[in-house]
């Protein structure tokens, strides 16, 4: 039986709350069946409102509280139903969570998981559409996780929560309806995880994450029909970033395309390209590396402009064809 991405997240929460008494969840919308899609439905009923805490509209303090609880040995998950709201919590995330381990000589363990949901489209506009993963990927001390597959949705959530480090776990609602077979749960060691090759190919290394990885998978067959063999690498872990698999792949294909659902400047695509070109032997590329990202603008509201703003599979296919030709 196939499971959808949203339900996979839910089963991750279920597993954690069932098996780890030190896990609790806090955030806005947790007592609403609608707020966070189907990813947390009825957790409060099953595990109690003490462990599944809906909160006042105070992102800053709630994030800080989750961090504080983690210092005492709990494994809290703080949920932000939109990443945009995390901007109120940047001090807690960047100045506190990311710093405490190093700053106290490795003695403090802010093993908090900060879940930020990318929730865009639907004419929601500039403050309710952001994909801000690059902001967090810039910060040493944070682990940044972006699942793209159904299995990762669940298993990387579990790994994030069990990690002793602060983790930013970012899921995109555009992934929720995707379905796949779910294997048995494996408790992964997050520090050992990194980018993975989702599809082997010879003509072009396409690197992506989150929803962009799903797009990559979707167009793979279509470009294969045009005789182009894609190698798809799903980043999964954006920080600390390990470029080695990508490098290996580009050595093989000689071409690098990075698709990212965030902005370009100082973004994740910039990181991938610079990490690769710093290491890659001169002359190994058959074409210039390329980033496809959002336009350098806030998200518009009007549906006509949203269609331009977000990358369509058709445009992605065109880019791939242009690059390989």
């Amino acid at each position: 039986m196939k499971t959808d991405f949203g339900t996979a997240i839910l089963s991750g929460f279920d597993y954690l709350l069932e098996n780890y008494p030190e896990v609790f969840v806090i955030g806005q919308g947790l007592w609403s069946p609608w707020y966070v899609g189907t990813t947390m439905t009825d957790l409060d009923k099953k595990f109690g409102k003490e462990r599944v805490i809906d909160t006042p509209v105070s992102e800053s303090a709630c994030t800080g509280a989750a961090i504080g609880a983690s210092l005492t040995g709990m494994r809290p998950i703080i949920v932000h139903p939109r990443m945009d709201f995390m901007l109120y919590a940047m001090d807690a995330i960047v100045n506190q969570a990311a710093k405490w381990s190093h700053m106290f000589g490795g003695q403090a363990h802010p093993g908090v998981t900060i879940r930020g949901i990318i929730n865009r489209g639907g004419e929601q506009g500039a403050q309710h559409s952001q994909a801000l993963h690059a902001l967090f990927a810039h910060i040493p001390g944070l682990r940044v996780v972006m699942p793209s597959t159904v299995t990762d949705a669940r298993d990387l959530l579990i790994a994030s929560v069990l990690s002793p480090d602060p983790v930013i776990y970012i899921d995109d609602r555009w992934l929720y309806s995707q379905t796949d077979e779910l294997e048995e749960i494996v408790e992964l060691d997050l520090s050992k995880e990194g980018p993975e090759c989702l599809m082997e190919g010879n003509d072009l290394t396409l690197v992506a994450s989150g929803f962009s990885s799903m797009q990559a998978r979707e167009v793979c067959d279509l470009v294969a029909n045009k005789g182009i063999s894609l190698e798809i690498i799903d980043l999964r872990i954006l920080n600390p970033f390990d470029a080695s698999k990508i490098l290996e792949s580009v050595r093989k294909t000689g071409r690098l395309l990075v698709v990212d659902g965030g902005w370009k400047a100082c973004g994740m695509a910039s990181e991938v390209i610079s990490s690769v070109t710093e290491e890659l032997e001169l002359g190994a590329l058959k074409s210039k590396p390329l980033r496809i990202t959002l336009p350098s603008a806030p998200a518009p509201t009007s549906a006509t402009l949203e269609r331009e703003y977000y990358l369509s599979n058709d445009r992605l296919i065109d880019c791939i064809i242009n690059l390989v030709r």
Binding site: W31, S32, T301, A303, L305
Partner: protein, 341 residues
């Protein structure tokens, strides 16, 4: 507490006290509230029927607040709203057609189709922006007030915010900053007891939020937000004080929204059921209903006049909508234009 419990939906069903009020002004209140109500009821239907692509946060039931406040404002003031701001804007006399166009994402809209329902801008009416980030505009309003003070103008700033927004720490920072700067600003809290699915009792230890104003020594007033005359009188006095340089004030208006948190449903609020009993009780506190009853108490023959007004408003709302529907969408180059000035 100075009054019977304003948060109890069983109280305050009776007509409002209009004695001493000018009849024309009362009829203006009626007209303005009715226009906003009709506009929002139409938006609810159009959203349900798929004409509107983005979320709409409707303030039906809360009209008395902006309608009571706005007559004491003028176009050189700086008014800031939030996600539920159709009424804040319309009560300033701003164009309904432009609001509809904006909600539809049309280039003729208040924000040129770049904002939609949650991002409204109308400088000529003194409306300096609404945004959906909770409390996002509150410090901005304080800054506008500081700027008025620096320019020695008589402008004031108004920040509309909800009982949920108050939970963002930036609000108390803003009140303290306004107080220490003696900034000419009126904070208006529309306390409708809910922040999306969460009743205030699940979020705060008391249902009245003006205690935060007390903490900042910002003079505050708690009142029946469904009594347009009480709102009007209190706001007028506060605004006079503020204009004369006495520093910030806060008015807390107890009210209720008839629709759910977002879009057209009424009894389902982002998944949390509100009892029909509560909703019906609150409908008995409907600010338009109560003003109507008061008007009829003064003068029964006014009914015809109100009926005519209603017919006219229906026509206006309908035609504004149809006009907006025909308007063009923004050109594609608008996507990158306007990121910088």
């Amino acid at each position: 507490m100075e009054k019977p419990d304003l948060t109890n939906p069983k109280n305050f069903h009776s007509p409002i006290n209009v004695s001493g009020m000018d009849l024309d002004l009362l009829i203006k209140f009626y007209e303005s509230m009715s226009m906003i109500r009709k506009a929002e009821d139409l938006l609810a239907v159009k959203r349900r029927d798929g004409f509107i692509g983005g979320p709409v946060h409707l303030g039906a039931g809360q009209e008395a607040i902006p309608v009571g406040v706005s007559p004491s404002l003028n176009s050189s003031d700086f008014v800031f709203g939030a996600h539920r701001s159709h009424g804040h804007l319309l009560a300033l006399g701003s164009s309904l057609h432009k609001l509809f166009a904006e909600v539809l994402g049309k280039e003729t809209g208040h924000s040129k189709g770049m904002g939609g329902s949650m991002h409204l801008w109308d400088e000529p009416s003194g409306f300096y922006g609404s945004v959906p980030i909770m409390a996002g505009t509150v410090p901005l309003a304080v800054g506008a007030a500081i700027s008025a003070k620096l320019r020695k103008s008589s402008s004031i700033a108004v920040a509309y915010l909800g009982d949920g927004a108050v939970e963002e720490g930036i609000v108390i920072e803003s009140m303290n900053l306004a107080k220490i700067q003696k900034a000419p600003i009126l904070f208006i809290v529309e306390n409708n007891l809910f922040a999306s699915h969460m009743h205030i009792s699940l979020r705060q230890p008391s249902s009245y939020i003006s205690r935060f104003a007390d903490a900042s020594l910002v003079p505050s007033h708690i009142l029946d937000g469904n009594d347009v005359v009480e709102v009007f009188k209190t706001a007028r006095n506060s605004i006079n004080d503020i204009r004369s340089g006495q520093g910030p004030q806060l008015i807390e208006c107890l009210t209720y929204r008839f629709y759910g948190h977002v879009d057209w449903r009424e009894d389902v609020d982002v998944g949390v059921n509100r009892s029909m009993e509560d909703i019906n009780d609150w409908r008995s506190r409907d600010p338009i209903k109560r003003l109507t009853e008061s008007l009829l108490e003064i003068n029964e023959t006014i009914e015809d006049k109100l009926n005519d007004l209603n017919d006219e408003l229906n026509l206006n709302v309908q035609s504004a909508w149809e006009l907006a529907l025909e308007d063009p969408f923004p050109a594609k180059d608008k996507l990158l234009e306007g990121v910088y000035a």
